[in-house]
């Protein structure tokens, strides 16, 4: 890919980072209006960040309520109807309002443009529009909670979802709207990565976080419209009775599952691939080493993104789809497992003979490796046809996807949040409490979800309000785990707030990283860079002096009192 580029000679000079700029993106303009009308990708990212953290809190509280109800086999404190609504909302809020926008829209918005040396995304106004569309969609889902809730499960399977008396239309319409936010963000990122990379920043020098977001964006743009169509059909089914899913009118309820998973399986990669990107950054920086197998990691994300479109039927082995379909879907599913597994080996090989600094983000990266490996290996288990027949729709599956989504993505998100916290806020957090919290979260997560693997293999079905006595002990372990998790998140909240109020000032590059977002002040100035960055080295070339990562185009009619030099760059684009 990179070999097709042509060489150019550029006149550059060193631009040392101004550690104390007079203004930064947080205080350049003031007042609520300046935030609500901002087109600065960092401010939009920060608003996304606040929103997804808010919805994570809501979704988390719902989870605490679910686990509390499951403390005893029969009723603990809420009715069956309430329980059914809460598990539906927990799933819908966590998937559509938290995890899908979490890494791309919040952290991605902030750092994807900076990491290619751009001043903003390609379409800043569209970026703001995406945020408002997201908020508008979120408002609909909150409205659905206010009017009677919804009790279908986040999967909205027909025909139950066309028959139940709850607020299915409000919720699905909200998700329908949020889909557009996802599509537009993806589109914005794709164009930004193609058109706004700095001189010298070839695809092969792009940080892997950006590669991961590129793959994610492709899925967002291609898959989300299918979800929109599916939900539109569901709404029409309920309001107009068009009969596409209703067997009484000649429809097919299983067709809904095909449509739904055609989006929602690729959506799993929308959720996990950005996490891979963060982990690649963390392991390289905190091992101070070039990533082992850069091209493999970069291109395997793309491969996973494309193969991910061909495996949706593995959610449906016992749905009544044909035996042949199940066999084919199982076969392809295993081939997604290979590139994913190899990434783990690549990350480990990166640490080999590295210079490993166990700062908090690296703790999260290591916890990710452990938990995501379990999530991946149990994915092989449920991909195996005969075993899945037993495990499908049991707690085993619940545990499996929580190991991927929470143990993987949420822990990577936390790692990324700590890693970029100094850049976002300009303040350092305290390493001591942060490491304690990371350990408590690790403990809480595993106490919550490891017992669920055993519950599932013993036959405990998911979405059960009551359960048979024999499962009580394991359910109680799991519930206690959520309390440990709650404690961990509480500690994170306390020291993060403390850092905002009185944290020590962060330098521009506290981790001694090499990618471009660290070559601007902390917090960055509004335009990110006062010059056009020129890239001559790879993002993980820690053996090269830092100054060589702070080069920018020398102004052609320059003032002459700066030392300039010329560099040859291979470039795939015009400045």
């Amino acid at each position: 890919m990179a070999s097709t580029s042509k060489e150019r000679t550029l006149t550059v000079r060193h631009f040392p980072v101004d550690e104390n700029p007079t203004t930064n993106y947080l205080n350049a303009t003031k007042g609520l209006k300046s935030w609500l009308t901002t087109v600065d990708h960092k401010r939009i990212g920060l608003m996304y960040l606040a929103s997804v953290i808010f919805f994570f809190f809501i979704g988390g509280m719902l989870a605490i309520a679910l686990r509390l109800e499951l403390l005893t086999p029969a009723k603990t404190f809420i009715e069956a109807d309430t329980y059914n609504k809460i598990f539906t909302l927990h799933g819908a809020v966590m998937v559509f309002l938290f995890i899908i926008p979490s890494i791309p829209a919040a952290l991605g918005n902030m750092f994807l443009p900076m990491m290619v040396g751009a001043k903003d995304v390609a379409f800043p106004r569209l970026n703001l529009a995406s945020f408002y569309i997201y908020i508008f969609g979120a408002a609909f889902t909150i409205y659905s909670i206010a009017v009677n809730g919804i009790d279908t499960g986040w999967t909205f399977y027909t025909p139950y979802s066309t028959k139940t008396g709850t607020a299915v239309i409000a919720m699905t319409f909200g998700v329908f709207i949020m889909g557009f936010s996802s599509i537009l963000t993806g589109l914005n990122f794709i164009v930004t990565l193609h058109k706004l990379r700095s001189p010298g920043l070839t695809w092969g020098k792009m940080p892997l976080f950006n590669w991961a977001l590129y793959a994610t964006s492709v899925i967002q743009v291609l898959a989300t419209p299918v979800l929109a169509i599916t939900l539109a059909l569901l709404i029409m089914e309920r309001t107009l009775g068009i009969g596409i899913f209703d067997p009484a009118l000649g429809g097919d309820p299983v067709l809904f599952q095909h449509f739904f998973w055609f989006y929602s399986h690729p959506a799993v990669y929308i959720m996990i691939v950005p996490a891979f990107g963060i982990i690649s950054e963390l392991i390289a920086v905190f091992s101070k080493k070039r990533l082992f197998g850069y091209w493999f990691i970069a291109l395997s994300s793309m491969a996973i993104a494309l193969l991910g479109f061909l495996v949706w039927g593995h959610h449906m082995f016992v749905s009544g789809q044909s035996t042949l379909s199940s066999v084919v879907f199982s076969f392809i599913t295993f081939f997604v497992g290979i590139p994913t597994g190899i990434k783990i080996f690549n990350w480990l090989a990166t640490m080999y003979k590295g210079s490993i600094d166990m700062k908090t983000p690296m703790w999260y990266a290591m916890i990710f490796l452990f938990q995501f490996t379990i999530g991946g290996l149990t994915g092989v288990m449920v991909g195996a046809l005969s075993v899945d027949v037993h495990l499908h729709d049991t707690y085993y599956v619940v545990a499996h996807f929580h190991y991927v989504m929470m143990g993987g993505t949420v822990f990577a998100f936390l790692g990324g949040l700590h890693y970029w916290w100094p850049k976002i806020t300009g303040k350092m957090y305290k390493e001591g409490p942060a490491k304690i919290a990371a350990f408590i979260l690790f403990l809480g997560f595993n106490v919550t979800f490891l017992p669920q693997f055993i519950l599932g293999s013993q036959g405990m079905p998911r979405r059960y309000y009551n359960y048979v006595e024999q499962f009580t002990t394991l359910h109680q372990f799991s519930t206690v785990g959520t309390w440990i998790l709650l404690l961990g998140f509480l500690i994170v909240a306390v020291y993060m707030v403390q850092s905002l109020r009185s944290g020590t000032k962060a330098s521009s590059n506290p981790w001694n990283a090499r990618s471009l977002e660290w070559m601007s002040s902390s917090p960055p100035v509004s335009e990110n860079f006062a010059y056009t960055p020129v890239v001559t080295h790879g993002p993980y070339d820690f053996h090269k002096p830092l100054a060589e990562f702070q080069l920018g185009l020398a102004e052609s009619h320059g003032h002459g009192h700066h030392e300039t030099e010329t560099v040859k760059t291979s470039s795939t684009q015009e400045a």
Binding site: A80, R290, L291, G320, L348, A349, K353, S355, I356
Partner: protein, 312 residues
């Protein structure tokens, strides 16, 4: 190597042992891989701990032999696992020709079984042991899923079409049936059991087709029908409100209906409410009960009426 006692339910069908072998194999290989990764992480963290900010590290960023190895071994393993899972899945999906057929209908929230002789029973499925059983299944409302953990079998039931599943129980005994496709309020109470009998006992059971034993009082038989027919999922007998009105103290009580009329709980009202539940909907309750028309004999209906009478 068998973790069966802790991780898995008892193996009571002919396929269960084969499924468990693959389950155990994947667990074993996974445990080895996970252990290797954890050891590597911990070892690297201590061995390559950062000594100073000026540490220099190796620039090696690929190694073809290593990469081919760690691609080839997992590739071999997953193809092996795929084939193994595929072969057992084909056994599950290939119904033996001499299977004994039973029709199953999932309804919110109970299971209805129809035998070749026209006999119908609810929730508790009676089958002969040592003989392949084929279930031909459908749903009368939403999706349900027929799951017997002891047999390692599961199959969704779908309205408007038939799905099938087969199994062969090795020994007489009982196993729980769960519904594993979310179906609404009483999803988790849609529980039945398979009762596997010796062929001779099964034949005898089939002849009497689950009717009331000669010497059992009507009210006691009514109580048995109450628990075995799914009534308990929605109607309590202790006064608590579940989905429908409680049976406790309901006999001869006054009822207000959704259409504004009213009535008294008597024999005819109970009979009508079982056979045609939507005829009169008690105010404040959802019209969700499925019809039991044709499922109860006159004697069964009398027994349920007597049982409700006894719940003062």
């Amino acid at each position: 190597m068998n973790f069966g006692n802790f991780f898995l339910p008892p193996q009571k069908s002919t396929i269960a042992g084969e499924v468990d072998q693959l389950f155990n194999f994947i667990n074993l290989v996974s445990a080895v891989i996970l252990l290797g990764i954890v050891v590597a992480i911990v070892f690297f963290i201590f061995k390559y701990k950062r000594k100073s900010e000026n540490d220099t590290t190796s620039l090696v960023d690929h190694n073809t032999t290593l990469e081919v190895t760690w691609t080839a071994i997992p590739l071999f393993l997953i193809i092996y696992v795929f084939i193994w899972g595929f072969q057992d899945f084909m056994k599950m999906r290939t119904t033996p020709g001499d299977s004994y057929e039973i029709h199953v209908t999932g309804k919110s929230w109970f299971w209805e079984y129809t035998y070749a002789n026209g006999g119908k029973v609810l929730n508790d499925l009676y089958v002969p042991a040592g003989k392949p059983i084929k279930l031909v299944m459908t749903s009368s409302d939403v999706l349900h899923s027929f799951y017997v953990p002891d047999y390692r079998i599961k199959q969704d039931v779908v309205p408007g079409r038939y799905t099938t599943v087969w199994f062969e129980v090795m020994e007489p005994g009982e196993s729980v049936i769960f519904c594993t496709e979310y179906c609404g309020r009483s999803h988790s109470d849609m529980i039945g059991k398979v009762v596997a009998l010796e062929q001779s006992e099964f034949d005898e059971w089939l002849r009497s087709s689950g009717g009331k034993p000669e010497d059992m009082p009507l009210a006691e038989w009514g109580e048995k029908l109450y628990t075995s027919s799914g009534c308990q999922a929605c109607h309590s007998v202790d006064g608590s409100q579940i989905v429908g009105p409680s049976f406790k103290g309901s006999w001869e009580s006054a009822r207000q209906f959704e259409d504004g009329t009213s009535g008294v709980v008597d024999e005819n009202y109970i009979r009508e409410s079982i056979i045609n539940p939507s005829a009169k909907i008690v105010k404040g309750y959802p019209p969700v009960m499925a019809s039991y028309d044709g499922l109860f004999s006159d004697e069964d209906l009398s027994a349920i009426i007597e049982y409700i009478k006894s719940l003062k």
